[in-house]
């Protein structure tokens, strides 16, 4: 396997005045889970489409499996599985038929395909529902079937566009478990998400994107270490007087998001001491996480 599975340099895409992807660089090593984290409209989906050779970039170079895109899109897709943002299963077919027809698009047939389908139905916990029409499936089942369908060609790379958006917690955890299993088996995963928990849990490396640009790159832990203070005190319904008081004290960096006040600090103990005196104040002390990095890089910072 090559040392680099996918590589982009100066990648750019414009749609009628709107710059969706604004000159990004990244490289993805094989066998890891790589994430594109960003708010809606950050350019994540456009980047994925370019990686599949479905959207021609306006500028830049892009290679997957050492093949140039979009020219070799078909060869790249032959070894890639795709889980789209919105389910696009065939409503006229059963669960099993969906896998079978999809396999036919890769030129698969016969006993090899039969075995693969049986294995994938087990993998997706859908063996019982093999003959059910896809319309009768729950949202979680449809997502699992979409994931199973993406694996029908035994891909080296699986691309997932917001794989758990809209799923309930149980369904989400099952999808996560399957993705972890895939990575353990050596499949490279490439996913977009705006769920921090998902990125933190699944991704070995990730980039944070906004307005078509990459703002930061690293492992979740590196990103937290490099971009935010280690401790956070989150205060709900902070009054303006408190905000003023805290900013005057100067021992923490403040960010206000909605009605919550986030105090970032190297050492939270003195701050907690002061807050404890205040009656009726709701606050939470926790270690900094990816969400804090995300807000730091993309959100509004309180500046006095």
């Amino acid at each position: 396997m090559p040392a680099v599975l996918a590589q982009a340099r100066g990648l750019r895409k414009r749609y009628r005045g709107l710059t969706a992807v604004d000159g990004i660089d990244f490289h993805i090593e094989p066998g890891i889970c790589f994430g594109f984290l960003g708010p809606n409209g950050a350019g994540k989906t456009t980047t994925l489409r370019m990686l599949l050779g479905l959207t021609p970039p306006d500028a830049g170079r892009l290679e997957v499996f050492g093949l140039p895109l979009p020219r070799c899109g078909r060869d790249v897709r032959r070894h890639t599985g795709v889980v789209p943002q919105t389910d696009n299963l065939d409503p006229d077919f059963t669960v099993e038929e969906n896998l079978r027809i999809y396999g036919s698009y890769f030129g698969l047939k016969g006993s090899e395909l039969d075995e693969r389908i049986a294995r994938l139905l087990e993998f997706a916990a859908l063996a019982e529902r093999a003959r059910a029409r896809t319309e009768t499936l729950s949202g979680g089942m449809k997502r699992r079937l979409t994931l199973a369908r993406a694996l029908v060609n035994a891909p080296e790379l699986v691309v997932l566009d917001e794989p758990t958006t809209g799923l309930d917690p149980q369904a989400r955890h099952l999808v996560w478990a399957r993705l972890e299993q895939l990575r353990a088996e050596g499949t490279t995963l490439l996913l977009t998400t705006h769920y921090m928990e998902e990125a933190e849990r699944l991704c070995d490396r990730l980039v944070i994107m906004d307005h078509g640009r990459i703002l930061a790159e690293g492992s979740p832990r590196e990103l937290v270490r490099c971009h935010v203070e280690p401790e956070v005190v989150e205060i709900r319904n902070a009054e303006p007087t408190l905000v003023t008081g805290l900013s005057r004290a100067g021992d923490c960096r403040l960010e206000q998001v909605g009605s919550s006040l986030y105090c970032y600090t190297e050492r939270a103990a003195p701050l907690l001491e002061r807050l404890r005196d205040r009656k009726g104040l709701v606050f939470l002390h926790r270690p900094a996480g990816l969400e804090d990095v995300f807000l730091r890089l993309t959100g509004r910072e309180l500046r006095d």
């Binding site: 899109g73 897709r77 409503p91 038929e97 036919s104 030129g107």
Partner: protein
């Protein structure tokens, strides 16, 4: 592929055709009811009803005249409906093409597969009409009837391309009304399905020579009646030209819609 390049035809496109065939097979009952029911109604209602007053037209019983026209016009309507409503359904609400594009198939394969499928549906519908017409005694069971089938397939291809073009630029289903009322219905009325075109005003007679259905009707009628026609090759050339130009623009516009 270049956005304006000629369509690439690959065998892999048959996977798209096959997918549609399998869906069609699932909905076989209603599909065949439509394929057989409609011609029965036309031939009974118009053929016997109008035929009673008309008797013969262009040297053949009106029922035969009508049956040979409807074979061609049904190839047109079947391919057009499939190329508009069904293709749009797969392209937009159902996102079938999005799923297909995530595989080694590409936009050109989708276009080729859909064109072949539209023509296949024309073939199915025309076969049903021929069976009904023969069973009703409207047409004699001659070897010429079998020759109508390739003509019908070619007619299907000639109409499938333009229908895909309309789909590729359609913002919604209502958009198809323009094409139906401005293109399909006038052709249905003017191309010699119900009466010979030499009864039309001369300028209109010249004009309808540019319409593909005129050539499809003329060709299938001559084969059905066993009269033959000296200008059969002209009909074939016109239909083929429509099929090829339609294929080209369908490929260019579907690419533009899908690969942005």
């Amino acid at each position: 592929m270049h956005p304006w390049g000629p369509p690439r035809i690959r065998l892999a496109a048959l996977a798209v055709w096959r997918r549609n065939l399998l869906v069609w097979r699932k909905l076989l009952g209603p599909a065949l009811a439509m394929n057989f029911g409609e011609p029965v109604l036309y031939l009974l209602g118009l053929g016997y009803g109008l035929g009673f007053f008309i008797g013969e037209m262009a040297g053949m019983p009106y029922l035969s005249f009508l049956a040979s026209g409807i074979v061609a016009s049904s190839a047109m309507t079947t391919a057009s409906f499939e190329g508009m409503y069904s293709v749009f359904t797969r392209m937009v609400p159902q996102r079938t093409y999005e799923a297909i594009l995530a595989t080694p198939l590409d936009a050109d394969d989708i276009v080729t597969g859909e064109l072949l499928w539209c023509a296949t549906k024309s073939l199915i519908s025309a076969t049903a009409i021929l069976v009904v017409a023969v069973a009703m005694g409207a047409l004699p069971a001659t070897p010429g009837l079998v020759l109508v089938l390739p003509v019908v397939f070619l007619t299907g291809l000639a109409f499938a391309g333009p229908a895909l073009v309309v789909s590729a630029v359609a913002p919604n289903y209502d958009f198809f009304n323009y094409y139906m009322v401005l293109v399909i219905t006038p052709m249905f009325i003017l191309s010699g399905v119900f009466y010979p075109i030499d009864t039309l005003p001369t300028t209109l007679q010249d004009a309808v020579q540019f319409l593909p259905l005129t050539h499809a009707v003329a060709l299938s009628r001559s084969l059905v009646a066993g009269t033959g026609t000296a200008v059969a090759w002209v009909h074939v050339v016109v239909l083929s030209a429509y099929a090829m130009v339609g294929h080209y623009f369908a490929a260019v516009l579907i690419r533009r819609r899908l690969l942005r």
